[in-house]
């Protein structure tokens, strides 16, 4: 019998789909966290494949900070509609009320909008399983996290008390009140993600591609002046040909100067580049184990 050799992308795709179906079969009320980035885009595409011809049997949840790029909001709404899925948008009411923003509040911004916002949203809807698009290659602490990551009733992650994952067997049982974060694309690398987007023709936010954009430079980061809320300290925004390697809140996300206007150009630049992906995120610049600490507190 002739055998067909599966490529690495086919193997990864099969594994991710398997994980998603396991969650849908075993969880009571799953949700997919959707951040509109390229990893979310791949995850959503995999979900469509996993449950076709049915639409994915869970809603999308966007934990919004109100400070995302405008292009991200546009694609968010379109992607949910195209997939035939319900889109839930959650904004932490306390952060709304206090007007928390990245310019005045520093670390509190991430803490209140994202960490607290996520916990509140999960509690509000009673979700017991949440898909996230984290990859193990992003950061050293993530290399050790399980695909199924259990959280106590108050959302804390205990790195010493995670269940062993053998073969393709995931133990999804949990007590009432506990929840599980599931990372179906754990084993994908940044290159895998880009190749898959290229191969499958997945729509991503145009910010990943280079274009002339109004920017200022602060603390060594090129920041895009995406709307009128950006406080300009007598600075004049400069049009630069830039793109983003990772997307978050626009005042916290550094751009890179680039001429990469197509997907192959972007991949080419990524491969030839000499700094790692998370460099553009202000959140990681504190200290070696910053991500681990955030995760224990409940950050995704």
């Amino acid at each position: 019998m002739d055998s067909k050799t599966l490529t690495h992308l086919q193997r990864l795709e099969a594994e991710s789909i398997h994980i998603m179906r396991e969650v849908v079969a075993e969880a009571e009320n799953p949700v997919m966290l959707y951040s509109v980035g390229k990893d979310s885009a791949v995850m959503l595409h995999l979900a469509k494949k996993a449950f076709y011809p049915a639409p994915p049997p869970f809603p999308l949840l966007h934990v919004d900070t109100t400070w995302k790029f405008q292009d991200m909001y546009k694609l968010r709404d379109k992607a949910a509609k195209d997939a035939g899925m319900e889109l839930l948008v959650y904004q932490n009411p306390e952060a709304v009320e206090r007007g928390i923003n990245p310019f005045d509040h520093g670390g509190l911004h991430t803490d209140m909008w994202k960490t607290e916002g996520l916990k509140q949203a999960l509690d509000k809807y009673g979700f017991d399983a949440a898909f996230g698009g984290a990859r193990r290659d992003e950061e050293k602490a993530r290399a050790k996290e399980r695909v199924f990551s259990f959280r106590s009733a108050n959302h804390r992650w205990d790195p010493k008390n995670q269940r062993p994952e053998l073969w393709r067997l995931y133990n999804a049982r949990k007590a009432k009140g506990e929840s599980v974060r599931v990372f179906p694309i754990s084993n994908w690398t940044e290159l895998d993600i880009w190749q898959y987007i290229h191969l499958e023709g997945i729509e991503i936010v145009p910010l990943y591609f280079s274009a002339p954009r109004p920017t200022v430079v602060r603390d060594g980061l090129i920041l895009m002046v995406d709307d009128e809320r950006f406080p300009l300290d007598g600075e004049e925004p400069v049009m630069r040909s830039v793109r983003f390697r990772t997307l978050g809140c626009y005042p916290l996300t550094g751009a890179v100067e680039s001429e990469a206007k197509t997907l192959p150009d972007v991949i080419q630049e990524m491969l030839l580049t000499t700094t790692s992906e998370r460099q553009g995120r202000a959140i990681d610049h504190d200290q070696a184990a910053s991500m681990e600490k955030k995760k224990q507190e409940g950050y995704f």
Partner: protein, 635 residues
Amino acid sequence: MNTQEPIYKTDALIAENIEQYLETHQHKTMLRFITCGSVDDGKSTLIGRLLYDSKMIFEDQLATLEADSKRSGTQGEEIDFALLVDGLAAEREQGITIDVAYRFFTTEKRKFIVADTPGHEQYTRNMVTGASTADLAVILIDARKGILTQTRRHSYLVKLLGIRHVVLAVNKMDLVDYSQEVFDKIVSDYTAFAAEIGIETFTPIPISGFKGDNITGPSENTPWYDGVSLLPHLEEVEVEDSREQASPFRMQVQWVNRPNLDFRGFAGLVSSGQVRPGDEVRVLPSGKTSTVARIVALEGDRDLAVAGESITLTLADEIDCSRGQVIVASQSPLEVADQFESTIVWMDEHELLPGRAYWMKIGTQTISATVAEPKYEVNVNTQEHLASKTLDLNAIGVANITTDREIPFAPYDENRDLGGFILIDKITNQTVAAGMLHFALRRAQNVHWQATDITRDNHAEMKNQKPAVLWLTGLSGSGKSTIANIVEKKLARMNRHTFLLDGDNVRHGLNKDLGFTEADRVENIRRVGEVAKLMTDAGLIVITAFISPFRSERDMVRSMMQPGEFVEVFVDTPLEVAESRDVKGLYAKARSGKLKNFTGIDSPYEHPESPELRIDTTEMTPEEAADLIIARLIP
């Protein structure tokens, strides 16, 4: 540092022709491997080296690495690659890692996923986890030390988990002057040992992870070695596709896709073989047959699906098929059984309790299963067989396992999905063990349930009553036996047919071989449960008076009975009160240490969470308690 030019530089192609590069890389295959060895063997250094040589390290990471190397590295001024792959902060400060970490790198030909399982007390659990998904194992040996106890342990686990490709990486060759003699001696020693434990072939390579010898290409320091280098070997070794696809078609149904009344798809990951529309298939365990109608996919229907792919298929006939069932090639069905011999790796702090019911997850099916007392435990270092009544954390043993229903399966050696399982504690939900099924026990195939003409309903009707089990649980001295006795007398006066099973009495006969260890207590209750079940089948009202301290066993007995027939009565007496009564003088003995494993003193009592009835003996007399119980039974 490294005298060789990395051969995996692809910058030129990326810069000149990205489209061609992408085309090449879209055809890469994937290899998962595990590295076995301790920190001293240079394992982390080797992995760091592979990442470095395959250019998976960026400048900012390199800068951090250089800074870290100076601060806490062990290699002086040189880059300490080991720091690249250490992880969590607390562990990093202690210089230990206690888990499985997954690393990724890629070359022109393959994507690699490396399971890194550093060795410490938790070694067995971690390595078994990492090895369960590996296609290949790299067993590291320090050239200065040769084959050690841990090499034997690693090799045994590699064999146990059925990893087909083994590389013996003799590391730190730079520290033995690249001596061929040293290398040959280690290879010859290992050859003898490998044959002993059943590893048929392996690939020995002399390397230095630190200096980079024979990693990406031949080293000039080992002119006597004309074999393959590590990375090229990892790139060339055969992946599992052809072997997996040559086996008959098997797919465990994961989820039934039912978007509307006209569509019913069966979703799952193809475990082995190939499938095409028109293939005749059989659904197990029911045995019903049908034909594959379509293989449905987002991008359009497919005409072929193979092992390793997640698919959705539809069948030509409307037959029952749900999650946990297995769709197989109709001409090659699987064996179906409910008793097996298995090897079990215990992974929990709390030891195996033979006879206790655990959840068993095998493929997409979760069922209830009990493990018998181990036939033997295996000393993971020497592979000797030891007698053992249980399995502790990191122990490996061979034991029979019984499931509460028949399941389709394959021996683990043939199919990891259909023969590999985990056990889950029903109360804590922790994964407590991993196991591998070897074969079905004859008994399961030959002993069939004998259907009798006089049914349990007939028995009950003749007695004009509804059978039930009144299960009294509570501390020693709480008054269970006293209350049970009164209940039985009152029921007898009401012409009810009853039987009282008392803890002490049962231990004089049926259970006289059992002691008071946790494992024996579990078995004690299991047997009492079985006897109570037979008696309810005979139509009786059974009253039991056992301490029965563990929730799991009480729940197990509950699950053996018909719904509603099990009435859990918690005879609730505070320990001080029970102890002050001390009718049999047992508490005094336990307090003085003359009596071990006494419930409430040095063995726990797990309170019922939602008993049908709770009797507070500090507030009512035994008579009143008995009336309350009877009122619950006969309203």
